[in-house]
Amino acid sequence: MNISALNLFPLILSLKVALSATLLSIAIGIPMAYFLCKSNSKIADLADSLLTLPIVLSPTVLGYYLLILLGRQSFIGSFLEENFNVMIVFTPIGATIAAMIVSIPFMIKTARTAFTSIDKDLIHAARLLGRTDFNIFRTVLFPLAWRGILSGIILSFARALGDFGTTLMVAGNIPNKTTTMPLAIYDALLAGNTELTDMLVAIMTIVALSILFLLNQFDKNILRR
């Protein structure tokens, strides 16, 4: 098979979706992890369990919930469609949200562990030295938890890149619109095109490996003193 004839759309879409989902996970997950580590209340425990649910639930079940929550008949879905002409289901936005939901637990779990493992006396010391909580987050907590947060980012990205079930449920499998790499591989296999399947699988593996390798290098060279 000729490589120039290969449709790269699924690969690019996959990377875009995984990247956006990871950025969303960072933006939502890190503050959430911070508040969860600060609070020991029952509500925090409940929130933690709810946020872990996507790891244990079947992707199809998760996708179904998302469809109910964000579909065209739902409150949020119809509101967005009427006011902003934005549709979530069967669009790349849906794929991004699906990928975010399955990957955010990894971000929150690892970041929370990283924050919790910081000696509480460091925070007390910083407070007694006159710093505000936000300042302490920026100058003490984040720099010390950065390593854990980075592994959370890697795990989230990897999970978002590989998602199949939830994406299929929410975004469908519309060629050149919502077909991500895992779906393209499934299609190729189903069509009996082993050559294409092999190639797509190889690309996926190489891309995933390169990203993980680069992140590890980044971790080694930039963050280690």
Binding site: D119, D121, L122, H124, A125, A126, R127, L128, L129, G130, R131, T132, V140, P143, L144, R225
Partner: protein, 250 residues
């Protein structure tokens, strides 16, 4: 000057702390679990007492009746933590400068350099805490808090992991630096080296060794009745023993 009257209960543990301290180094004694640390943490604002009043140099930091509870960052209290709590990702210089805010860069650099000199840390300014010895870490911790010119200095039981000989040496070094550079009230938690000498008629006779001044003091509590322990271990009270100015919790 420090005035403390607080009550705090944690489960069935009840702490009553009621004492006054002038501008001096005051040792606080008591076995572990007797509430020494909670007392210190309450003064710093890390813990909130159930009721009571804390006054430092005529400034009310906490008053349960008047509903006053100043935030830790506004209390202007120096605190040396048991494990020093140095920021591991910052150098000695950055650690020391951490509490200096609202100063221009030049003044800040001057103050930091002056402090590095006083605390004999000049040659360690670019080291990280992990690269320092225990004694140096302790000096950094003290420097970091004294540079902010606190109204009150609290020392949580340092060197608990060290053996007595080195401990005594480091404690003396620490007290010397404090005496030369700080004029306010110092509250210092002391490990309780207590030895039971005799038990007679239900009374405990003990000898204790403490270090809360320039000199290592050995107080032989000859025939002094210490009924507290015998009566009720859970009921915490401070006993005042003049003239050495040592408070007991226990």
């Amino acid at each position: 000057m420090l005035d403390v009257t607080i009550r705090k209960s944690l489960g069935d543990f009840k702490l009553h702390a009621n004492f006054h301290a002038d501008n001096e180094i005051l040792g606080v004694l008591g076995p572990s679990g007797s509430g020494k640390s909670i007392t210190l943490r309450s003064i710093a604002g890390i813990e909130t007492p159930n009721e009571g009043r804390i006054v430092v140099n005529d400034r009310v930091l906490f008053d349960s009746r008047e509903k006053v509870n100043i935030l830790p960052r506004q209390r202007n209290i120096g605190y040396v933590f048991q494990n020093y709590a140095l920021f591991p990702h910052l150098t000695v210089k950055e650690n020391i400068a951490f509490g200096l805010q609202g100063l221009n860069k030049r003044d800040k650099t001057d103050r930091v350099q002056e402090t590095l000199h006083i605390f004999r840390l000049k040659d360690r300014e670019n080291h990280y805490p992990a690269q320092l010895s225990g004694g140096q870490q302790q000096r950094v911790s003290l420097a970091r808090t004294l540079i902010t010119r606190p109204d009150l200095l609290l020392l949580d039981e340092p060197f608990s992991a060290l053996d007595n000989h080195i401990k005594r040496h480091l404690e003396n070094e620490l007290l010397e630096i404090i005496r030369n550079n700080f004029t306010g009230t110092v509250l210092k938690l002391n490990t309780f080296y207590c030895q039971l000498v005799d038990v007679m008629d239900g009374t405990f006779y003990i000898s204790i060794t403490v270090n809360c001044d320039n000199h290592f003091i050995h107080i032989d509590m000859d025939k002094m009745k210490w009924n507290c322990l015998a009566k009720n271990i859970r009921d915490k009270v401070y006993l005042h023993i003049p003239p050495e100015k040592i408070f007991f919790i226990g």
